[in-house]
Amino acid sequence: MTAARATAGHQLACLRLVRLYAASRRVLTCLLVLAACAVALRTALHWLPRSGIFAQQIPLTIEAGAAAVIGVTAASPFGDPERAAGRWLPYLRLAAAVALACAAFGALAAGSAAQHLDGGTLGLLRDLAGFTGIAFLTGAVLGGGLAWIGPLGYLAVTMPALSEHWTTPWLWPARPPHDHGAAICAGLVFAAGLAMVTVCGARAWFRR
């Protein structure tokens, strides 16, 4: 009886911790923005031509926007006190990062369902993972508040890469969706970003 009550209490405490963590990172706002991105993608795909530069660039822009917003949620409003006292912080960071990345993929995949998405769902998964990894890496270096700079700066580089057919796999959006090199590069970036944000968090190295 006592053990069961203790287990239940522990579970409640865990849930409360998760809820508080999610509230402090504005996860709900992030989910709303991701839903808005999905609506934007669906609207764009309805109007866009099925091929050509716009059919590639506008979905990519929406994916980069979704990744940027996920990166911003890595910012901690508490800083060092939370870092010193939060024993479960790395797990919470990992869980939140993975959950939001999955939510973004699910939302954008749902937004592009029954529409023609250039590159398909596989391309969406690769590009979104890469963008999200860049957002996490930027957040770990510049701080969560500036995590958006990475994916949106990378997006700016992909624009000429798409139009001028650059071939390096590190610019994965310019490669076909089944390209192994591009998938490996995007996966590596995502894994590195996830590891960084889990271990280090999105620490703000400078305050401006």
Binding site: I58, G65, A68, W148, L152, L155, V157, E164
Partner: protein
């Protein structure tokens, strides 16, 4: 008895303070904001972006001022504008982010003035980064001895776009302070740029205001060389961007916390004036029309832009000299090589061009999807001169175009047409040819001999069929001219017996030695042009 006490030497810090120039209040505030801005930290990112997005593509092109001056603002701002909007939104939301809104709200300085100082600091850094990039490209171009000088209007539009991006982002960050505002401001700016590009490709009339649109559908190398750059569209864009900036910044002064009553009234006036200017810019852009040397807005047009720029052409020393604009001096050899074989076959014949002169364009017409079709070369004057436009052709070094591809492209594109003109087929085709149409007239008994002669000459010179030509690599946007009329009819067109006879005559003529062909043409060209030669009379 008095004792003099020597004055104590001033401390170094005090001496430094005494020498420091005391700036007026706004300048001190701006200096503080410049030191606190995030932009210096982002400068390396912008430098890398500039190198990848602008410098690299600009340097991959030929050192022509019009190409480089067009690439710099359009490519740069495509990458910079969203990030600048995000960075400015970050700066605008600083007070709320640092929980200082109440603290600074009770200072003597009106909040609007403080916000304008923060925006000005962000914009100053952004302009400095942008102009440093422009300077880098222009200095390198000047060292490559490009003819003429930079086109400053596109650069000015880029600078206005920098200010507008910062103003819009700053207003978003100030009015909607949230951690999500900077990425959303950047994201919306990206989408707005993409939407503008989509609208302009969809031929939406007012979409010409899109700030990355340098000269409507004109390729970068097709203006600003023979005639001055037509700044009409750039002026409308600058008015639009200045209006947007004023409206966004004016909005910041409207809330009650921004300042006193008079300040808020001034902000309302600035906002209204900004909106009016932006609307005027859009309305002006809606009246833009395509003309030979650029996009003309009647209300803004200056007739001085229509006067040609004086220059001394650079000519080759071939039998038929080829003269190009000095800006195209590097391509003289390629152009001469492209047209030399056809011209040497025709040299000395009545009606054959005695000189080739490069011109800006012969004709332009709008195409769907914000496209443009340039007319091909024309032969006119006494003695006949071939006026050759190169606008719209991908020059050697542009993208992946090699000198050999450029030469082959020109040869295939214009070779047949030049021959057609000389043998008299152009009379029916010249209008279409001038407009850049790709028309294949049928061989009829009336012109069968002319078609056979042109076909024979084209075969001898290795000029391909028009269908093969259009299916092959055609660098550039210039349309093939109607010299295609000299080809043997495609299957299903015309009478098969005539087609076969024309083909046989063409093969006979092509197999002749070059000198024999030329001699026969000198003797029979007048009769051939008059339609008095039959297929059987072709040797």
């Amino acid at each position: 008895m008095t004792a003099t006490v020597p004055a104590a030497p001033a401390a170094p810090a005090a001496r430094a303070r005494a020498h420091r120039v005391t700036l007026p209040g706004p300048a001190r505030l701006l200096r503080l904001e410049l030191r606190r801005s995030i932009m210096p930290w982002l400068a390396p990112l912008f430098a890398v972006l500039f190198w990848l997005v602008t410098y690299h593509p600009a340097m991959a092109n030929q050192p022509l001022w019009n190409i480089r001056s067009g690439i710099v603002p359009s490519h740069t701002m495509l990458a910079f504008a969203p990030l600048l909007a995000g960075a400015a939104a970050w700066a605008g939301s600083r007070e709320r982010r640092r929980s200082m809104a109440d603290l600074v709200g009770m200072t003597a300085l009106p909040r609007w003035a403080g916000q304008l100082a923060a925006w000005a600091a962000t914009t100053c850094w952004a302009e400095a980064i942008y102009l440093a990039g422009v300077a880098a490209v222009f200095v390198v171009t000047a060292h490559e001895h490009a003819w003429g000088g930079p086109l400053w209007w596109p650069v000015a539009v880029g600078a206005a776009f920098v200010a507008a991006s910062c103003a819009l982002g700053f207003a978003a960050g100030t009015l909607l302070p949230s951690p999500f505002t900077p990425p959303l401001a950047a994201f919306v700016m990206f989408l707005a740029l993409a939407g503008g590009a989509f609208a302009i490709q969809d031929n939406v009339r007012y979409a010409q205001i899109w700030p990355l649109n340098v000269q409507g559908p004109f390729p970068l190398d097709s203006y600003g060389i023979f005639y001055p750059y037509v700044p009409d569209l750039a002026i409308a864009q600058a008015v639009f961007l200045a209006g947007l900036s004023a409206a966004a910044l004016g909005t910041l002064g409207l809330p009650a916390a921004a300042g006193g009553r008079w300040l808020r009234r001034a902000a309302a006036v600035v906002t209204a004036a900004g909106l009016a200017a932006a609307g005027t810019g859009v309305a002006l852009a809606g009246t833009a029309r395509l003309e030979a040397h650029g996009m003309v807005i009647p209300a803004l047009h200056d007739a001085a832009s229509d006067r040609a720029i004086a220059y001394t052409p650079v000519c080759s020393h071939a039998a038929v000299p080829v003269c190009v604009h000095p800006a195209y001096r590097a391509f003289l050899t390629d152009v001469t090589a492209a047209h030399g074989p056809a011209l040497s076959q025709l040299a000395g014949l009545p009606g054959a061009p005695v000189r080739v002169t490069q011109v800006a364009v012969t004709s332009v017409k709008p195409d769907p999807s914000n496209g443009i079709a340039f007319g091909g070369p024309i032969v006119s004057g006494r003695p006949p001169v071939l006026y050759l436009p190169l606008a719209g052709s991908s020059l050697p070094g542009e993208g992946s175009t090699s000198a050999a591809e450029f030469t082959d492209f020109l040869r295939q594109l214009d070779g047949r047409w030049i021959i057609s003109v000389v043998v008299g087929l152009s009379g029916q085709d010249s209008e279409l040819g001038g407009a850049g149409g790709n028309v294949v007239p049928l061989a009829s008994p009336r012109n069968a001999a002319q078609v056979a002669v042109v076909e024979g000459l084209a075969n001898a010179l290795g000029l391909t069929q028009p269908s093969a030509r259009s299916a092959g690599k055609t660098p550039g946007s210039r349309m093939p001219v109607s010299g295609a009329g000299t080809s043997v009819n495609p299957p299903g067109n015309g009478t098969p017996s005539i087609t076969n006879q024309v083909r046989a005559a063409a093969q006979r003529f092509a197999s002749l030695p070059s000198g024999a062909r030329h001699a026969w043409l000198i003797t029979h060209l007048t009769a051939l042009r008059a339609g008095r030669i039959t297929l059987g009379e072709i040797p």
